[in-house]
């Protein structure tokens, strides 16, 4: 997970200055993407069979990012449906974040 504060946004489309090329060449990149900013996040919890949605990212303080799954789906509703079925939605939090489209 690549982190930064709001000021990092302006570098979002700058590329990685050869890092990607080098790492691709070394064969260490299995999959991943730059993420759009946290205010475009949707968080999903299922408690007592009730689907709870919150806008924005989960609270930064205690939560740890434990995994990252790249999903290719039709829209946010499908992403929510897939996320709500993951066991982690029942005890932790799943944050859905759209991937950054490559600059046109």
């Amino acid at each position: 997970m690549i982190c930064g504060d709001a000021s990092a946004t302006e570098y979002a489309n700058d590329g990685c200055g050869g890092w990607s090329e080098e790492m691709e060449a070394r064969g260490v990149v299995a999959g991943g993407a730059g993420l759009r900013p946290p205010h475009e996040a949707t968080t999903v919890r299922v408690r007592d069979d009730e689907l709870l949605l919150t806008d924005g990212p989960f609270a930064e303080t205690k939560e740890q990012i434990g995994g990252f799954v790249l999903i290719d789906c039709a829209d946010l509703d499908e992403a929510i449906e897939i996320a709500s079925k993951h066991p982690a939605a029942g005890y932790g939090t799943i944050e859905i974040r759209p991937v950054l489209e490559p600059p046109v």
Binding site: E40, A74, E101
Partner: protein, 394 residues
């Protein structure tokens, strides 16, 4: 019909259709704006078209085609936009576009304030400046909020559709909540009363597109409250409670519309919180005098609502009014330790029961307490009046 009327009536439809065919919210708004600007120039010269909505949609669509051509987007998108022909059975009459727009603006993945702003901008056609004024934020803040919401829809892939049936029980309340919040924003503040009007207009549209019991119940609720709008404040700006409102000045045709709508909803046998609240409002609105109010019925209706602290307080009032002030006082005092501590209506309600019991010094103390916690000038003016009354007797 003035251009202003046509704008208010057609804006949402034009934007909703353009969003569907272009998939681009900013472009849809810009093209709609340009279409209305063109109408402003052409119609005074050429005369009003037979179908202004169709004229506007076609004009907006042509602007979109020009733009897409300049930007050389995919041929498939172009075909889609061009296929929006205006001579055959016109797609702009498909009401689903506005319903789609409503559900998309009110998607639960968006922050509540974003849902409200987006609904007012894209569906109701309020300008960014108007919405900013209504929510007391700088125009730049509101503009940023709208832009972010639209980006969120586009990037996160919030689908532009009426949700499938299995999602409706979850999504419809989200739409109703936005409309009711909008209504209350306008209802609680004279300066922003236009928001209530917008909320009623949008609720009428929703009911027309989706005549389910709860949307109908919400519209009934709004109409019943709104019918009393002008009697809620005295000339000096003080709040006038239901007891003292001039019932002859209520809008009785609007009350009748609300009651008729509510009955048609209740006949469907699928009650819900908005229908219950509308039923409570109807009890008040149809009582010829305050003394005729059917308080036992109201208490029973409050019992059907989710027991939030405020509902519990209102229910205590209803029980007190149907039973005796002493019972009411007892119930209200039981609530003083709970989550309502510090809520001005709690001491105000206690004061009211104490006044009815003619316990003047206690009433005076309670009114003073309420006065310190009151949040609006209208409430403060009302409480001061009451305080003077009971002070004279104590």
């Amino acid at each position: 019909m003035t251009l202003e009327d046509i704008y208010r009536q057609e804006w949402g439809q034009v934007v909703a259709t353009l969003i569907r065919v272009t998939g681009d919210w900013e472009l849809a708004e810009e093209c709609a704006q340009e279409a209305f600007a063109a109408a402003l120039q052409r119609w005074p010269v050429d005369g009003l078209p037979d179908r202004p909505g169709a004229w506007l949609t076609t004009t907006a669509r042509n602007r979109a085609i020009d733009w897409l051509r300049r930007e050389a987007v995919g041929a498939a998108k172009m075909r889609e936009v061009v296929a929006l022909e205006d001579d055959q059975d016109p797609p702009y009459d498909v009401p689903d576009d506005r319903l789609r727009l409503m559900f998309t603006c009110c998607h639960p993945a968006l922050a509540m304030e974003a849902r409200v702003a987006l609904t007012l901008r894209t569906l109701a056609g309020l300008s960014t400046a108007e919405i900013a004024r209504a929510f007391l934020v700088p125009e730049t803040t509101m503009s940023k909020r709208l832009t972010r919401a639209k980006q969120m829809i586009q990037h996160a892939g919030i689908p532009y559709r009426v949700p499938p049936a299995h999602l409706l029980p979850q999504r419809t309340p989200a739409v109703l909540a936005v409309l009711y919040l909008l209504f209350n924003e306008g209802y609680s503040d004279v300066v922003r009363s236009n928001l209530s009007g917008e909320a009623i207009r949008l609720a009428r549209l929703l009911v027309q597109l989706m005549p389910d019991p709860e949307p109908v119940g919400l519209l009934a609720l709004m109409l019943l409250h709104d019918a009393r709008r002008d009697t809620r404040l005295a000339d000096d700006g003080a709040l006038v409670t239901l007891d003292d409102q001039d019932r002859s000045s209520w809008d009785h045709s609007q009350i009748k519309e609300g009651v008729d709508l509510l009955e048609s909803a209740l006949d469907r046998g699928a009650p819900g919180p908005y229908q219950v609240q509308a039923a409570i409002a109807a009890c008040h609105a149809t009582a010829p005098t305050a003394a005729d109010t059917d308080w036992p019925q109201i208490a029973g209706l409050y019992a059907q609502l989710p027991q939030t602290p405020v509902v519990t307080l209102n229910r205590a009032v209803a029980i007190g009014m149907s039973d005796s002030p002493a019972v009411g006082l007892h119930l209200v005092e039981e609530l003083s330790e709970g989550p309502l501590a510090g809520y001005h209506l709690l001491p105000a309600t206690r004061a009211d029961f104490l006044r009815r019991l003619e316990r003047w010094p206690d009433a005076k103390t309670a009114y003073q307490e309420a006065l310190e916690l009151a949040t609006t000038d209208a409430e403060r003016l009302y409480l001061k009046k009451r305080l003077r009354e009971v002070s004279v007797r104590s």
